[in-house]
């Protein structure tokens, strides 16, 4: 299981949890798992998010591997100017 930390304002869409445990080994699996466990997260995730895995910010890349002891943080989708 991977412990996924949510940004604060997402928590009310996940039963007020600070983090959610997801059974997944890829970034895509994490996102699908979050939606499965907490369907209210779906519109937020589908609008686009980035995922930090052990400090590497993955702006897109659903196939990126994730270890069960990785620090995983959901972030707003990173873009720039």
């Amino acid at each position: 299981m991977v412990d996924v930390v949510l940004w604060s304002s997402l928590r009310r869409f996940a039963d007020d949890k600070t983090s959610v445990e997801v059974d997944a080994d890829t970034v895509g699996g994490i996102l699908s798992g979050l939606i499965h466990l907490h369907p209210a997260l779906k519109p937020h995730i589908e609008r686009g998010v980035s995922v930090s895995v052990d400090g590497t910010i993955i702006a897109s890349g659903r196939n990126e591997p994730v270890a069960h002891d990785s620090e995983v943080v959901l972030l707003q989708r990173i873009k720039g100017g």
């Binding site: 604060s8 304002s9 519109p43 590497t56 702006a59 897109s60 943080v73 873009k79």
Partner: protein, 749 residues
């Protein structure tokens, strides 16, 4: 390559300062910018724009315009295909109004005629009946009870119930217990801040030439930061397949984030299809100001607690950003970046995206981060002053380093903030004495940097020179750095590589040149494409020597036997292998496609000295030093240019630039005479220090440098001016009237 290897790697071409490949074109006028492209039979387009900040469009009668012999086509919203999806859903509504005009300058209709003058004249023959609607242009006014609602029901799920309908997105991040942290502080300061909207100010206006025939095949030449994205969006808006629209980017006269989307390109395509002739549109400066993306304006509150020893005990920020009449103000980045330089046990940031009757904001170098840094770094400066602490020592005491938890959530990998602070502290600028009437300001800044889809192709010529094709428009010198990285890997001279920005029909999809991603992502792909080429070169050498491919290595631009067991052969140069490639297996080319995920974040520290005339309120920056982590500077001159450019744009934003709206809701200063950008005589020499803490996510350690340089200036300049004037400035720009008023109010008590 491991991080330790990066620190010791010896470079041959990378890190040198060769002559830029586009230099002669630019200084002789040979370079082709957006407005320089022409075609036989070309028409000229012009766009009718709303004179009202908010109005219902009751009718548009184009009959008088189309009756003019010079007019060959007129388009309105009805001439475009359906809306886009995802984050681009509102592009169509911005480039051509539907039922309502949402801001002064919003496009209503467009004309193509045989001359630019005829097109502009024909706009006067289009009869539009408007019903004026209530409007609001100020971010704080927009969320007051009774403020006109710009889009009913536009708020997404993130917005808590009960808030004003003009609040359309909400974000919150942080950790710990801020109230507990504030209780532990010796001093808590809370302040409110305002920054006005500014424009990216690129010198080249938006320009394009479009050709779209009745067969659904099109060509588009335009100045853009992202021609692949332009092709994708434009094709949808005119209802053709993306592969049928080939987009070629021109040279670009500045973008800074403002050319990451489309404005006139779909309009020119629609006009071209209707007239069955090429159509060129060039925006006037007034149109650029009124209808293309300025940055957001912001209203913010920041509260920070500090112990007497300089430890920050808690920090809290509220960031309200307006992004025009469309939901996309970068409030989440203001909230996420504002406290990123500091290792905080208790921190909370909240952001609100607010609609106003203004043009749709566009990214402007690290969108959102400069505003957030202005508010936070101003409060830290005030805390330092009140507690009589050195501002760099305090920042060093609280600075994040590898393993620290960022205010926005993750733990940082290897980062260089402390290195920038130590270099700033040791810089002669920081130790120099100030003259009477001067003040010094310091600020840190942070930006994420980005990666994105990237595709690169590298082809050998028979003479051993190299053509490198990349898909990221060169907005900051990337062609030079790509040549350097290819030359470095291949072991050939820099001059033997030419980099071309390929059109959309010649290369796989590439994300926009944004997010400081190009030197990182296209550079990474260039290195990998060169390595792909080297594998093929080694294979040709192995075949010639009749040994295994694994027994050949590439060193100093030559294929060599890997060791004595491989046999004794004269090394083969790249040119020697290329010379007979047609007879040894065919053309040799390498390529690489990736969406990399290792764009290292970056930090900067700026030092500013400012001088204030207390009689006029005029402020002048007299000395400026930028210290920033580049990871690895491929071409140091370009890196320094990015640092200097960020500082200069920050000086304009901090001291003079602002969108001024009248009581009628219309922009009052849509031109460079009234919108005061800094010129050379306003500026001191901008000194730069390149810190190199390698990014483990890039083969050479590169971090993006284009955006972080604009994060600290607003705060560093505001702190310098505040210290010089002895009054805390919380509203940008600190224009003479605003600064004089603050000085006089303080003197009057």
């Amino acid at each position: 390559m491991a991080l330790d290897d990066l620190r010791t790697k010896e470079f041959r071409v990378v890190g040198t300062r060769p002559i830029r490949p586009d230099g002669i074109d630019k200084v002789t006028g040979r370079a082709k910018f957006g407005a320089d492209v022409t075609a036989s039979g070309m028409l000229h387009g012009a766009i009718l724009r709303s004179p009202h900040p908010h109005a219902r469009i009751l009718s548009i009668d184009v009959s008088r315009a189309i009756a003019e012999p010079a007019v060959k086509a007129v388009v309105t919203r009805a001439d475009f295909a359906g809306n886009l999806e995802g984050e681009d859903w509102n592009v169509l509504e911005n480039i051509m109004a539907g039922e309502r005009a949402l801001y002064d300058g919003h496009a209503i209709a467009a004309v193509a005629a045989t001359s630019a003058l005829s097109a502009r004249d024909a706009l006067k023959l289009i009869d539009v009946t408007y019903e004026k609607l209530p409007f609001v242009t100020d971010v704080d006014e927009a969320i007051r009870p009774g403020a006109p609602v710009i889009r009913e029901g536009a708020a997404d799920e993130s917005v808590p119930e009960g808030l004003h309908p003009n609040i359309v997105r909400y974000h919150e991040n942080g950790h710990g217990d801020v109230e507990k942290g504030f209780a532990e502080a010796d001093l808590v300061i809370e302040r409110s801040f305002v920054t006005e909207a500014t424009h990216q100010g690129y010198i080249e206006p938006h320009a394009c030439l479009a050709q779209l025939g009745p067969d659904g095949k099109g060509e588009l030449w335009c100045c853009t930061q992202g021609h692949f994205a332009a092709a994708r969006i434009c094709a949808k808006l005119v209802g053709i397949d993306a592969s049928q629209l080939r987009v070629t980017p021109s040279e670009i006269g500045g973008g800074f984030g403002g050319k990451t989307t489309v404005f006139i390109e779909p309009v020119a395509l629609a006009l071209s299809r209707k007239a069955n002739r090429p159509v060129k549109i060039v925006m006037s400066r007034s149109e650029v100001f009124r209808a293309t993306g300025p940055t957001s304006s912001a209203s913010m509150n920041v509260k920070i607690g500090m112990r007497k020893n300089g430890d920050i005990t808690a920090a809290e920020g509220e960031f309200r950003l307006q992004g025009g009449a469309f939901p996309n103000a970068p409030m989440e980045f203001a909230a996420m970046c504002a406290f990123a330089p500091y290792d905080l046990e208790h921190v909370r940031s909240r952001g609100w995206d607010i609609l106003c009757n203004r043009p749709k904001q566009a990214a402007y170098r690290a969108p959102g981060s400069p505003m957030g840094a202005f508010a936070v770094e101003s409060v830290i400066d005030e805390l330092c002053n009140r507690l009589k602490l050195d501002p760099i020592e305090v920042r060093l005491r609280n600075a994040v380093k590898e393993g620290a938890r960022a205010a926005f959530g993750p733990r940082f990998q290897r980062i260089g903030l402390i290195e920038t602070l130590e270099q700033a502290k040791a810089h002669p600028h920081y130790m120099a004495e100030l003259k009477p009437g001067q003040g010094r300001g310091v600020s840190c800044g942070f930006w994420f940097n980005h990666s994105g889809e990237t595709s690169v192709s590298l082809a050998l010529s028979y003479d051993g020179t190299v053509s490198l094709s990349v898909g990221t428009p060169d907005i900051g010198g990337s062609r030079a750095s790509m040549c350097q990285m290819a030359a470095e890997e291949l072991g050939i001279p820099y001059e033997n590589v030419r980099t071309t920005i390929a059109d959309t029909g010649s290369l796989g999809y590439n994300d926009i040149s944004h997010g400081s991603r190009v030197t990182y992502a296209s550079g990474l792909a260039t290195i990998r494409a060169a390595q792909d080429t080297i594998r093929k070169l080694c294979a040709r050498a192995a075949a010639r020597w009749e040994i295994d491919e694994e027994a050949v290595v590439w060193e100093d631009g030559h294929a060599r036997p890997a060791g004595p067991n491989a046999g004794e052969f004269e090394p083969l140069s790249l040119a020697a292998i290329a010379a007979d490639m047609g007879e040894t297996g065919g053309p040799i080319a390498g390529h690489f496609e990736i969406t990399p995920n290792g764009a290292g974040v970056s930090f900067a520290t700026h030092i500013v000295d400012a001088e204030v005339d207390r009689e006029t309120g005029a402020a002048k920056v007299v000395r400026y030093t930028v210290v920033q982590d580049a990871g690895k500077a491929i071409h140091p001159s370009y890196v320094e240019g990015q640092y200097q450019g960020g500082a200069v744009q920050g000086i304009g934003w901090a001291l003079n630039e602002e969108y001024v709206y009248g009581d009628d809701g219309c922009l009052q200063n849509a031109g460079f005479l009234d919108y005061r950008m800094p010129v050379a005589s306003d500026l001191p020499f901008i000194d730069t220090v390149i810190v190199e803490v390698p990014n483990p996510g890039h083969p050479y350690g590169v971090r993006g440098v284009g955006e972080t340089s604009i994060c600290p200036p607003l705060a560093a300049i505001a702190n310098a001016v505040s210290n010089a004037a002895d009054v805390r400035m919380t509203h940008l720009p600190m224009s003479p009237p605003r600064l004089l008023k603050a000085i006089q109010e303080k003197e009057l008590g």
